[in-house]
Amino acid sequence: MSKGSFEVKVGLAEMLKGGVIMDVTDSKQAKIAEDAGAVAVMALERIPADIRVDGGIARMSDPSMIKEIQDTVSIPVMAKCRIGHFAEAQILEALEIDFIDESEVLTPADEKNHIWKHSFKVPFVCGCRNLGEALRRIGEGAALIRTKGEAGSGNIVEAVRHMREVQSNIKKLSKMDDDELMAASKDMGAPFALVQQVSNLGKLPVPNFAAGGIATPADASLMMQLGAETAFVGSGIFKSEDPASRATAIVEAVTYFEDPDKLLNVSTGLKSAMKGLDISEIPEDQLLQERGW
């Protein structure tokens, strides 16, 4: 019997494929998400758009709030800890959270090191902007990778940039000769064994999801067509005018991401999306994606 092995961690990530994971701040929102067909919820006190406005230090959420959400829904519940804050992660594990997001949305606790995720029994998801960053996180034990995008912006441009970066570097690696892989590993700052593995597989060794800026069914379809296997939607749902209908529409858009007629149908008649931010409006030192390495 092996609990908490890497295979078992990736196993749960496999089950989340083709789905939508929604940010929720209370049990009422969690219920709306589950009713709309979310495959999991991310429990957090403030969604990224509000963290951005409020400023201050963003920390792990109050366990009692997470517990209430766990008691409300039957789908997996995820929660965020600060980058490098393994004590927060230990608390989330004690709470039996299903997935921990070591997230740039919260204020980093360690500017140099991420958490050694292999020493936990519960799986971790981590964000990335490129393949090197993805492979460093997998090397530390992440069982699931997502794009960072720019959380709370309602702007898909950064998630697209990050997904394209990852995919084009995977394509490059899969065409390389064996003798080129060590240099690629050095240039990317990625563990050599994982570089070799990606070169052989032609894809990441763990599932690859999209996050950071998804606000519409079309955004979700775009990310899926670019190679994402599931979509995280943060502020996009509960900052919109009619969260329940938007949540339902995004769930359908992920399943039928290749079917324009269906996408037309689910995109029609939705009330306003979240307002969103142009990336140039965000001061450089407030870009969340720059957190972590």
Partner: protein, 199 residues
């Protein structure tokens, strides 16, 4: 016409089932519309979230289509797929096909921290095989009818059942590259019977 197996691909780990069928040399196709069922001779309902599948089945009209498809064709369900096949999932968030005379409790084995890989003995049709199985937030069969044939147990509880044409599992053989249950469920579609009865 070449026989083909459909894999319900509304949500879940449908890709890993396709890999198993590829290894067995069986043609397969993803099913997201009722019309896709016209071209297939069997169906896999994969793992994933049964609440999500319930919503998407309802909205796509696939629910009724699968119920009538199951009259004549074999279905293999794993984890959430097993929940969907049960007579009763004891949860009004999930609307099941009622293909297996079992009652099932969702997430009965706990949260992800209790997920595990376990080795099981499968007994079916004079075959005894030891296989690895992955249980992910697994459901538990809490009652089964007389006509349900239990082909594997985990800690005394049925975890693999066969009833008529249909096979349901509370675990994921596809995550361990185990093709035994695909061979059992789709015996009449897969030509090389030797594969199933080989040691």
């Amino acid at each position: 016409m070449v026989k083909k197996i459909g894999i319900l691909a509304l949500q879940g780990n449908f890709q890993k089932h396709k890999l198993i069928l590829d290894q067995l040399g069986v043609e397969s196709t993803y099913v997201r519309y009722s019309s896709s069922l016209d071209d297939v001779n069997g169906l896999i309902i994969p793992g994933g979230e049964s609440t999500t599948m319930t919503k998407l089945l309802d909205r796509s009209g696939l629910f009724e289509s699968i119920v009538s498809f199951a009259d004549k064709n074999p279905i293999l369900g794993t984890c959430a797929g097993l929940i969907m096949m049960a007579n009763n999932a004891m949860d009004d968030r999930v609307n099941t096909f009622k293909l297996l005379d079992i009652d099932i409790e969702r997430n009965a084995s706990g949260r992800q921290i209790d997920s595990l890989v376990e080795s099981l003995t499968v007994s079916y049709d004079n075959i005894q095989k030891r296989i690895d199985a992955t249980f992910i937030r697994a459901p538990k069969i809490i009652r089964h009818g007389k006509n349900v044939n239990v082909i594997a147990y985990y800690k005394g509880t049925p975890c693999a059942v066969k009833s008529g044409k249909h096979v349901g599992l509370s675990f994921h053989p596809e995550l361990n590259g185990v093709s035994l249950f695909h061979e059992i469920a789709f015996n009449n579609i897969i030509n090389n019977k030797e594969g199933l009865h080989a040691a």
